[in-house]
Every structure is written in C-alpha cells, then in structure tokens.
C-alpha cells in the first residue's frame, strides 16, 4: 500500500515492519499489474500460479480484467489459480452469479470451467446449481466430473445427495468423479455409498470407490456394510483383471483393518501368487494390518 497522507505514518510503519520479517517472499505480497501481465503473457503455468499467489493482496481493476479470461484457460491448474485469485477480489458476487448462470446453459466447456470456479469459491449456495448440473445428461462427462469435484471442494455434506445420484450415471467418468468427491466431504465417514460401486464395470470407478472406502479407515469396519465391503474387496483382490484394482483392494483391506479371518487367506494368496510384484508386496504389507 502506498499511502499519501502524513496522518498515517504509524500505519505505513507497521506494514513496513511486517515486510522486514521476510522481505523476499511475504506470502501474497510483491506483485504488480505489470508482473501479472508478464506472467500471463509468458504462458508459463508456474509463473501464472506464483504471480497470482504473490498478488493475493494486490488490487487493480486492470488485473481482474487480465485474470478473468483465465477461468477459461485450457490448463486446469491455471483455471484453479485464476479462480482462487478472483474469489478474493471485489466482484466475487458478480463472478458467482456469472458462473452459476453458466450451469444453466448448454455449453459443456463453459459449464466445466464454471464448476472449477464455483468449487474454488466454496460457497454453500452453489450446491443446488452444481447438484442439478452434475446430474444433467446434457453436459458431457468431463463437465459433470468437474461438477462432482466442485461439490467435493465445497465439502459440505449437502452435496451428498447429488453425488449419490451421480454414482448411477451412465458415464463411468461421472461415477468415478462422484465416488472420488465423497472423500472430500467434511464429515464423510460412512463408506456405504462408495461400497455400491465396488463391482462397477468400469475399473476407474472401482478404483475411486476403493479409495473412498479406505479413506474412512477404521470407520469402514464400524459401518453397517463393513463385512460386505471386506468380502467385496477380497473378491477384487483375488480376481479383478486390472492390476491397479487388485493393488488397491489388498492395500485397502489393511487400511481399514479388515478381520483376519475373512481377509487373511485372500491376502496370503495374493502375497504368494499374484502375477504382479506390486500386488504381492502390498498384500504382504497389508497382512500385518488386519484385525486379529
């Protein structure tokens, strides 16, 4: 801040003393409109990310005009940091309205980008429109996956209903994204919704379902579906054609502390005989984590 007033010497002094603590990289300080413009012009994702971080407390209308188009950048990392920066600025209310309106139009790419911004804003009032868009088959899978991710970013359990519905979508990418978003919800401890996807025909969905079950750790075995989950994981560990799924399954059995009498034999078999050395080593390690 540059202050043009002799009545504010004490204020500028306090700001100066702050900057003396770490002059080379005070978080959110040190940027300029020219630096932002230069970073954007360079096309470097990293330069844009770092410059906008340094511009956390920089205000300039011209900068907002420069950054706003980045919410439609091809690189998701740029979209994310642009949204992060914009939601700290004045005009975030207008930004919210604009992004929410995008969820009601038919262009999937615009809707995807809007979801990224709304997720970064983390405003609960976006949940209804994101929920509706998530389960709107008019949008393509990528856009709907972004809706699910945004609900996870917001993190409120109010998004659970829409995510559960999306787990029945006909597109695997949507089901997988919905399963992944579960573990971003604050207070998510019941793995039952994810358990329903363990036998999904799409390996990517099974992977995300396993991760979301394992994310609950000991809570999984305390849920009503605990033993059923273990049995499903045992089956996946033994016979899933995808090596990645078998790896996840054996690891997850240890992560949730599955009962040895159910999971032990399957893990021993995997540790001894699976064709993948990765499955074998993860199964061997998981054996020591089973509940006995």
């Amino acid at each position: 801040m540059t202050i043009v007033s002799k009545t504010l010497v004490f204020l500028s002094a306090s700001i100066a003393s702050l900057s003396l603590l770490a002059p080379s990289a005070q978080a959110g300080r040190g940027s300029s409109p020219a630096a932002i413009e230069s970073a954007i012009r360079s096309g470097s994702v990293e330069a844009i990310q770092s410059e906008l971080e340094r511009a956390e407390v920089l205000v300039c209308s011209a900068c907002s005009k420069l950054v706003l188009p980045l919410v439609d950048h091809d690189d998701a990392r740029v979209r994310q940091v642009a949204a992060w920066w914009l939601v700290r600025r004045g005009g975030r209310s207008a930004l919210f309205v604009e992004m929410a309106e995008r969820l009601g139009q038919p262009d999937s790419k615009l809707a995807r980008n809007a979801a990224d911004v709304l997720g970064e804003m983390r405003m609960l009032k976006a949940i209804p429109s994101l929920s509706a868009a998530l389960n709107n088959p008019a949008f393509d899978s990528e856009a709907r996956a972004s809706m699910a991710k945004a609900l996870g970013e917001i993190g409120h359990m109010g998004g659970l209903t829409a995510l559960r519905q999306a787990m029945t979508a006909d597109k695997g990418e949507v089901r997988a994204a919905a399963a992944a978003a579960l573990r971003d919800l604050r207070g998510y401890t019941d793995p039952s919704p994810a358990a329903a996807l363990l036998n999904d025909g799409d390996a990517e969905v099974r992977l995300e379902a396993i991760d979301s079950i394992a994310y609950t750790r000991s809570q999984a075995m305390q849920s009503a579906s605990g033993n059923a989950i273990v049995q499903s994981l045992v089956n996946l560990a033994a016979s899933d054609p995808d090596e990645r799924v078998r790896k996840k399954a054996v690891w997850a059995l240890g992560e949730i502390g599955a009962p040895f009498h159910i999971a032990g034999p399957a893990l021993q078999q995997a540790a001894a005989g699976d064709e993948s050395p990765f499955v074998r080593s993860l199964a061997e390690a998981a054996l020591g984590r089973l509940a006995r």
Binding site: S5, T7, S42, F278, G288
Partner: protein, 731 residues
C-alpha cells in the same frame, strides 16, 4: 539444442575445462559424457534421476507435478566409457514420473517415489541395485514423496495423507495447495506411521550421520513467511530449528540439504556442515545458489557461506554461464569442497523460459567450490539429470528418538519460562502467570479464503496452564496438531507469543529450558527437581470431535476456545459500547476517515462504529465482495486489507487492534482491564489512567468480557473461528 550448446559454451567460458578430453556419447549418442578426474577413486558408479524437462516445479514446495518419462539410471563408472543401467526398466514404470530417490546403507536397494502413467498419485517403490526385485510400499489417494532411508529398515517420506483420522489435510499459507507432512514406513511397506503436522509444508528431508533428519519447513504465523531448515529425530520427534531464522539467512528458502562434514563449535558442541540450495520460493525450478551452512550451537549462531556468489538468490533469471543449481552431494574429502551437482545454464526462471519457449536442462557436473568451476559428467538433452549420488556403502546411523510415554497426548513444557535469549525484556520476572496453548488450522475445515482482515491462521484456544513457583509449566496437548504458545501476564495478556507452530507425536514430551532459552547454555533449575514434573502436566488434550464442535454462545473463561467476532464480541459492543459508538462522527470520540483507493477509483468513509451493521468493503483487496460488521472494520482498520494499493486517506485514520497482541492494541489500553491472575483484582489495572467506558459513565466490562477481547486480539484479531465457521451452513 541451442540452449544446450550455449550452456556448454558458457561453461567453458567461465573456466570449466574439458581437460583435453573429447565429448563422447555413451549409449544414445545424444548425451554429453566425459571422463572426470574429480570423481574419487572409491566411487565406481553413480545413480541419478532423469526426468523429462519441465516447467511446473518452480515453487520449492511443489511436490506432485507429473511429466511422463522419468528413469533411475546407474552410470558405472561415472565416466565417458561408463555403462548406463536403468533401474526402472520394469514395464510398469513406462511413462512414469519419478520425483526423488534414496540408496540403502548397504548400497543394494533403492527406494524411490514414482507416479505410474495409469495412476494419479506418487507412491513409494523399492528396487534392487541390479534393477530386480521391484516392489510397491504404499498406495491410496495420497502422494508419498521425498523418500529417505532411515536406520532400522524404515523409510521417511512426506505425504498429503492426514495423520488425524477424519480430518482433512491442511492447506498451505495461501489456502490453496494441500500441504505435505512427514511419515515413516518399513522397507517392506509395513507399519506406516504418520508424523505430527505443520500448518504448512514440510519437504526435502535428508538423513545425517548422527541420526537426525534435516528438512525444509514453511513457517507461517501472522507475518512470518519463510522456508527454513529444521531438524527432527529419526522417529519424527523433537522437531526443532536448524537454520534460516533469527536473521542469519541470505535468501527466503533453503532446501535439499545434504550432510557435508562434522565440526566442533567454539563452545565444544559437535555439529554439522550442510550443503543446501538457497533460493526464492517461486519460479526458480527449485534451484538456486549452493550454500554451505555451518550449524552452530543454535540457530542464531549458525553461519552460511555462499558457494556460488554469482547465482541470484532471488527469483530473477540467472545469467548464461551462471545458471542455477538443482542439488548437490559432497564428494571426497570435505575440505576439498567438491560436489556432485545438477546445474542448468542460462535463465533458470520459469517465466523467462516460458516466454522463450524453452526449458531448463539440468545436467550432472562436479563443482569445485574453491575454484568455482564445473566439470561435466552427464547431460541428456531434453531431460533433467538430477539427484546424482555415488553408489557406496555408508554407515547406518543410530536411531534418534525422544522419550515416548504411554498416552495419546503431546506434552509441552518449560523448565523456566523466564530463560529466554530473545525476549528477556518482555519477560519481566514475576509477571508471567500462565501459558496459553493454541491450536492452529487452515481453511480446509470449511472457511472461506481468510479468517478475517489479518494474516493469521485459524486458531482455537486449548486452554491455559499455570506457571508454577519455580517458573516451570507442563501441559498435555493434542498430538500431531500445530500448537503455539503464549506466556501471559496477570491481566491475561500475552507477554511473548511464539512465532512458529510446533507439533509433537503422541506420547512425546518436549520440555524446553525456557521460552527460546539460550541454546548454547544449560538451563539450571533449583533443587534439582522441576515442579511441573512433580505435579504432572495439566491436561488440555481433548478429542478432535470435541475440539471442532461449535460451543454455542456461552463464552466464558473456563470454556472459550474460539472468539467469533459476531457471537462472542458483538454482544459486548451491543450492550456496553454502541450507545456512544454508533457511527456518528465527531461525537463521543468517534473518529472518521476516508480512504480513496486510487487503484480502484473508489472511496470509503469509516466512522468509529461498534454496531454489528454489515458494512460492505469498497476499497482494497476485498472491495465489492466482502462485508464485515462495522465494529470489526472499526476495530481492525482496513490497513492490511488495502494490500498494495495506492490510497489517500483523509481524516484521522484509526485502528484499535494490533493483530496478535492485545497488549499493544489501543482498544485494550483504553478499556484497561483489571488483574485476572492470581485472582481478579479491580484495583490493579493493566495500564495507567482511566478505565473505559466507566470513565464516561458507562458500564464496565465483566472479567470474562475483558478476557474475550484479549483472547481474540492475542489470537490475531480474526473474525472467523470454528464457532462461526461459515462452511457449516451459512456461506
């Protein structure tokens, strides 16, 4: 290729001779590979990591960027006629990325962090030095990075997995990236243990021969922002300062520290010399100067020597012939100051490189710090050849650990709170009554962006413990969570606030000599027995579920954790302040000022007003989108919120809260609270002069009301706390 040619020419230009040897390719015919007389005779091979050149690892704390095409390679001998062996030739690693690796003490096993082409996270793997017996150690929707092999057949790593079941991992100081924290696991993938958490990142650990681990930690508490070197024990206990703070650093961040040598300080303490990369936090591709750090008796007496003075320490582009160093490993006799380094020529700066459509190309060199010259070893065009280390057996260090007791708490204490090398002026003997313990967190619990108008992280008061007759204290606090401490006086105001977050494991006991005592001296206790130990620690440890649960509206000294502005303080203003301070300028001391934001072309007039009226902010960084109660804006001011804007301010600017210090806050000085400890005494006041608002015929605040204001200001003057977390339903 132009960049590479220029690099080699530049290397010659600064005296990096090729010794009359010809540049000859070894396997692909592309790489630069020459004999190098600087390699010690006992080094018959090196292992290094080859990654596809990239642009996305500028920030020193970025740890999970993925670009396909990495390999772990062994070059034997490290010379022109050496043979390259790929240790990651298993087809499962095709198109993977590898971010770091380490070699076992017997030089037979490599542990590395890789993200497979078909997966989403970096995991730990182990493979024999012959490339056989590959196995996976970790899995899950988490990244496991920076593996370091520990004594006892274990591996240290950093990860974004959360040690606290049911919690979300912290976001960093920008409330943007997910932080990485330490953990360990057996070489067989068994017995994973996750370590205590920092509010921001922990990265780049390395093992030293004495069993200590040195690592880089981003420190963020209020105005503190820097990446320092810290140390901890093998078992992730005893986290403590090493280098970078207390005024002896030369850049913002230090990382990739590696042991160089032992040495003895003037006081007789055996300590270490380290080589590390010193750099700005961003844009430098995690590269920078090489510095030799001599750890002293304490952080303040540590010294640093710039081994590459021409290399910029900031984030600007480096010159041709100067470049930047990605990492360094000491070679041979430490006195010779030779290092196996990764170095790239030219402007190693992500922005400049992107503008030129180029990429930095790190190659492997031997750097002689005495002559400041480099000799090339290996450099493949289009690739980063980094983290080269000799293949050799090394002694297994001892396992270092702190005493661990039964129980789930972390025990914090001090033998004598007045023992301080930095705060002796503030810590007036006899004036410290309690120590306040505060838990830290960030926005992952559902908070929007920031917690209010100041730079402070989220905070929650765990409680206060007595300072005993011998000036000691001890408290049980939650394990694995960041905690900061404040020594508080008889008025319940902080006399000294710790500037960093600390954390410890379950059962760990951390009893300091004092409050930043002189690390080169012993703290003496009288009688040989410490009272805090005799009495036992006060228990401030509560289960997470209880800590994060909103406490309603009963804010008392005994129960208060957070001090949400709207719920805890506004009722006080409404009851006892707004009859005078209701926004009418010029009466009842209501000052007024107008900020004209020339950057935005807006202006805002603020008149002292303690009502809860929502007031939109129209100047500074939160303009046209944020509002706070008039009371909050009046008390905190808009100074920090104005950021770097050009503003003019007419009238008499005011703010009545100094974030982080109730004692320095004009509001508290005006209110003039009474003594709180050892017993409430209205006749003894914190400051000379009158007590407000009684001096104007108003009703005095109750002791708990004073306390709530003090606690809020000491904890950073924020608006949001867990009790009014908008992510729970109002945002």
């Amino acid at each position: 290729m132009k960049m590479r040619t220029a690099a080699l020419l530049a290397a010659g230009a600064i005296g990096v001779g090729f010794g009359g040897m010809s540049l000859s390719g070894c396997n692909s015919g592309k790489q630069v590979l020459v004999n190098n007389p600087d390699i010690p005779q006992d080094v018959d091979s090196i292992i290094f990591l080859q990654r596809t050149a990239r642009q996305d690892t500028g920030n020193v704390f970025e740890y999970n960027g993925y670009v396909a095409g990495a390999r772990l390679l062994k070059l034997s001998p490290p010379a022109a006629d050496g043979t390259l062996t790929e240790l990651t030739s298993d087809p499962r690693f095709k198109n993977s990325d590898i971010m770091a690796w380490d070699l076992s003490f017997d030089a037979r096993t490599v542990v590395f962090s890789a993200r497979l082409a078909t997966e989403k996270n970096f995991q730990l793997y182990a493979v024999g030095i012959d490339g056989l017996n590959v196995r996976q150690l970790t899995n899950g929707p988490y990244d496991y990075v920076f593996p370091v092999i520990l004594p006892g057949q274990r591996v240290l790593f950093t990860t974004n997995k959360v040690v606290e079941e049911g919690a979300k991992q912290f976001r960093d100081e920008y409330e943007r990236a997910t932080t990485s924290q330490v953990g360990t696991i057996g070489m067989d993938g068994k017995n994973e243990q996750l370590g205590p958490r920092n509010v921001s990142h922990r990265v780049s650990p390395a093992l030293m021969p004495d069993g200590n681990i040195v690592y880089t930690e981003w420190r963020h508490l209020g105005g503190i922002n820097d990446g320092h070197l810290r140390k901890m024990n093998t078992d992730m206990t005893g986290m403590r300062e090493a280098f970078g703070g207390e005024g002896n650093g030369i850049t913002n961040s230090y990382l990739k520290a590696r042991f160089v040598d032992r040495y003895t300080t003037a006081s007789g303490k055996e300590t270490q010399q380290l080589v590390a990369v010193a750099t700005s936090r961003d844009r430098t591709l995690q590269a920078g100067k090489l510095v030799l750090i001599s750890l002293g008796d304490d952080e303040a007496s540590s010294k640093v020597e710039d081994l590459t003075p021409l290399v910029p320490g900031g984030r600007g582009p480096s010159q041709f012939g100067v470049g930047r160093y990605y990492d360094a490993e000491p070679l041979g006799n430490p006195a010779d100051r030779r290092f196996l380094v990764s170095w790239a020529d030219g402007p190693v700066n992500s922005e400049v490189l992107a503008e030129a459509k180029g990429k930095a190309e790190f190659g492997i060199y031997v750097y002689d710090a005495k002559t400041q010259t480099r000799r090339p070893i290996y450099d493949a065009p289009g690739m980063w050849d980094v983290m080269a280390r000799p293949v050799r057996i090394r002694p297994e260090p001892p396992i270092t650990q702190s005493p661990i007791t039964a129980g789930k708490s972390f025990t914090l204490g001090a033998l004598n709170v007045y023992a301080s090398s930095t705060n002796s002026k503030e810590l007036v003997p006899g004036e410290a009554f309690k120590v306040r313990l505060i838990e830290g967190f960030s926005s992952e619990e559902g908070f929007p962006n920031m917690f209010g108008l100041t730079e402070f992280d989220g905070q929650s008061n765990l409680g206060e413990v007595d300072i005993l007759a011998d000036n000691s204290f001890a408290a049980h606090v939650p394990a694995n969570v960041p905690v900061t401490q404040q020594v508080i006086d008889r008025f319940a105001m902080s006399m000294v606030s710790e500037k960093v977050w600390i954390s410890g494991r379950a059962g760990e006991q951390r009893v300091c000599g004092g409050c930043h005592e002189n690390r080169s001296q012993n703290t003496l206790i009288t009688g040989g027995l410490n009272e805090a130990i005799v009495r036992g620690a006060t228990n401030l440890d509560k289960p997470r579920a209880e800590r994060i649960t909103a406490k309603g509206t009963a804010f008392t000294y005994e129960s208060v954790r957070g001090v949400p502005w709207d719920l805890a303080l506004q009722p006080i203003f409404d009851a006892k302040c707004v009859s005078c301070h209701e926004g009418t300028a010029g009466v009842n001391g209501n000052k007024t000022y107008t900020i004209t934001d020339m950057t935005l072309g807006t202006s805002q007039t603020v008149t002292f007003d303690l009502r809860g009226t929502k007031t939109p902010i129209v100047v500074g960084e939160m303009s046209a989108g944020y509002d706070y109660p008039a009371s909050y804006i009046s008390m905190l001011g808009l100074g920090e919120e104005l950021g770097e804007n050009v503003v003019t301010i007419t009238g008499e600017y005011f703010k009545y809260v100094e974030p982080g210090s109730a004692r320095e806050s004009k509001a508290i000085q005006k209110l003039n609270p009474p003594q709180r400890f050892p017993a409430i005494d209205p006749n003894r006041r914190a400051f000379p002069g009158a007590t407000h608002p009684a001096d104007r015929g108003g009703q005095e605040l109750t002791p708990d009301e004073y306390y709530l204001m003090i606690l809020n200001f000491d904890m950073g003057g924020q608006y949001y706390f867990r009790e009014n977390n908008p992510g729970n339903g109002s945002y």
